[in-house]
Subunit: 340 residues, 2 copies
């Protein structure tokens, strides 16, 4: 047992060792492994059997150098303080990893805030990755700007006006629009909107969906019950406070994070959901499952977006043509929180 392991680890084999042992040349071994180039089926099997028995594995660095390919991709994550309550990015990450693994790629994580491109530069300059996934897309995105100039393949999760970008996103716009339409058709009269971080395209799209959803129902946007600059819990609760003085009968939250705060604040004030106020969220997460009342929300398959982004990226890397924009489906879950 022990000696068996020792045996295998007698310093790593190379294709030359394999070649010598089999009385063939190194290039033959290489061909047998890669499948590239013509090779006799018999010798191929012989080589494969041998490397399997001796558990030989090609050296990644050497292959990397020879092919100018790293078999690594990077995923760019927002900075830590944002992440604690935001499982979205991590779920994405795991989706991407799943696809990467299957394709013999490894996933390398890079955390950075919205403006610091240093970590990306290092990756690119040192050629440590073959491509990148941007998990977040800003309005005038410095990462995008940088990556475009480098020419390295990358896909962004989100929506951009630049139709040359390769993006993967949930249909936030369509989802919010349909959600608003639905709420209004059920008899809700006045839907307020609570959001923040309008420099992120996802939030822009949701707000646009909200606006067009109202329009579909022949309603105009009432800017006095629209908040698009909430960045802290306190601001959210203050907004709720103000809304309570109006005739608003439903609060649409840009995301689960804001929704969480809204629900808490309403509970604190003794306002019952949905009797005195309806609540809905443009994004679902486990956060919303912890309330006594179930919350109407848009549901997206977050893992799937990670998978898809990675798949598209790998396609780009291998030179295949890919769709510029990919839009993934949404699901509307009507729950108690908007019951009339």
């Amino acid at each position: 047992m022990d000696s068996l392991n020792k045996d295998q680890s007698k310093e790593n084999l190379t294709i030359h060792d394999v070649a010598k042992a089999l009385g063939v040349s190194a290039s033959t071994v290489s061909r047998a492994i890669s499948g590239k180039g013509r090779i006799g089926e018999e010798t191929r099997q012989r080589v494969l059997a041998y490397i399997n028995e001796k558990s030989f594995y090609p050296n990644a660095s050497a292959r990397s150098l020879a092919q100018s390919k790293t078999y690594n991709i990077a995923i760019i994550m927002p900075e830590v303080r944002d992440l604690v309550d935001m499982p979205f990015f991590h779920t994405c990450m795991h989706g991407a990893e799943e696809v990467a693994q299957v394709n013999d790629y490894d996933l390398l994580i890079v955390t950075t805030d919205g403006s610091n491109i240093k970590p990306l530069e290092r990756m690119v300059n040192n050629r440590k990755v073959d491509g990148m996934i941007l998990t977040r897309l800003y309005k005038d995105d410095v990462f995008v700007e940088y990556l475009k100039n480098t020419g390295i393949p990358f896909v962004a999760i989100g929506n951009s006006e630049d139709k040359n970008l390769v993006t993967v996103d949930h249909d936030n716009y369509g989802g919010c629009r349909e959600l608003v339409s639905l709420l209004l058709s059920k008899g809700i009269k006045k839907v307020a909107y609570l959001g923040g971080g309008m420099e992120q395209t996802v939030n822009i799209r949701r707000y646009e969906g909200y606006k067009d959803g109202l329009e579909d129902a022949g309603k105009a946007v009432d800017t006095s019950i629209v908040y698009t600059n909430l960045t802290s819990k306190i601001q959210v609760s203050k907004a709720v406070e103000e809304l309570l003085k109006t005739t608003t009968d439903c609060i649409l939250c840009q995301d689960d994070y804001i929704c969480d705060e809204v629900v808490h604040h309403l509970a604190e004030k003794g306002i019952s959901i949905p009797k005195q106020m309806k609540v809905a969220s443009c994004h679902h997460s486990k956060l919303l499952d912890n309330f006594p009342v179930t919350i109407t929300s848009l549901k997206f398959d977050t893992m799937e977006i990670g998978r898809k982004a990675c798949q598209v990226l790998l396609d780009m890397i291998s030179g295949e043509s890919v769709d510029r924009q990919t839009l993934l489906e949404y699901e509307i879950n009507l729950k108690e929180s908007t019951k009339m």
Copy 2:
């Protein structure tokens, strides 16, 4: 502006290009960059200035091949379904990444369940990393077993009886012990314990702390109010149900996840905390911040454990001697949930 970028990207430079342009040899350039080997200060500056101006960066694969070092480390994460409500691992990951970045290392993530070592084998066999961090430690850990045989440097987050392992952990034992002592000293009479997953060493240590905390106060463990095999929400609520029939006046939860369920179930049953039942948790997370009542808990700096684990690993990789076991401090936060 545009031409400037084009200029830089005229196919990547090599040390030979730099050498030629400066009228020196490639090895001189190499020395200037690495700092290894004697080199004239003047030429060193000249080289450094040039590569800085032309923004030359050494090719990672080539360096990797020459040095047999990848400047990558991997962090092994538990499988996805466990993760959604467990920010611990992701926070660790970001801590590790922070330290890795500073040391010019990159972090590669690998997700796998407790038994599948295939993904690790690929990493090791292909020599894609210089070391690994295990974020979880099982009683008879197959990963540990495998990694020990390969000889690759690795550090495990958790506690092991095998004192040859290099581990980094919070002082779960000491924390739980002190917490229990404290609760009892405040007048609490009967502390029940709710836990699960005893194949993970962290949970074993917490339970041991609980036991010894009782002992410190001269109390014996009452196994009828101890649950160490709860793996689902339903099981947790059933356990709570049974405890309510006893004279238990405080429930100590193994982690935030279990605590979350306990608090919810008590609320559902109309049992008020802390009046009718005290509650404490051996692990704090944001999960506990969402309750109307603040929860007494042990608090660990999760990011710090990731940082520390990474630092120790990097030390091992560079051949420095490291402490076998590192124990990080805990903090006891006494809150409303255990108020007498």
